[in-house]
């Protein structure tokens, strides 16, 4: 399924945003660049559902792969190690 603006293989960067409310994008990955693996479908926005609203329109959710060395400063494991994180489309921007 791939109804959103990004497709498998696209390079994306997680927005470097720090809103005060309920968000579903971990702090540690904000600002990091990764690669879209797949779109996991579109769902009501959990950041709206958290406040009792309906979360519409649905937002595409992507599995995005990041190099561990991109996420953690001083990562000393194998260079090809990755971490895959589910991230909603409004948290992503195109990256080179």
């Amino acid at each position: 399924m791939s109804a959103g603006r990004y497709h498998p293989g696209d390079r994306v960067r997680v927005r470097e945003a720090f809103p005060p409310g309920h968000v579903r994008t971990p702090y540690f990955v904000r600002g990091c660049a990764g690669e879209v693996q797949e779109c996991a479908g579109a769902y009501p926005n959990p950041e709206e559902l958290a406040y009792g609203r309906d979360g519409k329109p649905d937002i595409p959710l992507y599995r995005v792969s990041f190099l561990q060395s991109e996420v953690w400063h001083g990562y000393d494991g194998p260079g090809a190690d990755t971490i895959v994180i589910d991230i909603y489309e409004h948290w992503l921007e195109p990256a080179q």
């Binding site: 720090f18 309920h22 971990p26 702090y27 559902l49 958290a50 009792g52």
Partner: protein
């Protein structure tokens, strides 16, 4: 401004993880059941997302002091109060009733 919310602690030092198995206490099972019942499609009184938001809003001190299911019931309670599903007075009355019953049961058991 980069603000890391207290619960969003991925990657921070946290010591070792206690992986020992343990049984759930009856009250913990009840909390689980209450949250499930509140969340059914017929009722929709509480969503997982609201529960999570409520846990995050407990604040750093309380968040750390409470156990897993204490966080759940605290969050569920606050959200039901916010929505007007229950009132503070109803809650207080019920809590006193349960406590009185509990005390009586324990006295008669001893």
């Amino acid at each position: 401004m980069t603000i890391r919310r207290h619960h969003d602690m991925g990657g921070l030092d946290a010591g070792s993880v206690d992986s020992s198995e343990h049984d759930y206490a009856m009250w913990e099972k009840r909390v689980d059941a209450i949250v499930k019942v509140l969340s059914t499609p017929e009722r929709k009184l509480l969503s997982t997302d609201e529960l999570r938001r409520g846990i995050e809003e407990l604040g750093p001190g309380v968040y750390d002091e409470l156990s897993y299911y204490e966080r759940w019931i605290s969050s569920a309670t606050n959200i039901l109060l916010e929505k007007g599903t229950i009132t503070v007075d109803e809650l207080a009355t019920k809590m006193a009733e349960v406590e009185a019953r509990w005390t009586k049961d324990r006295e008669s058991a001893s």
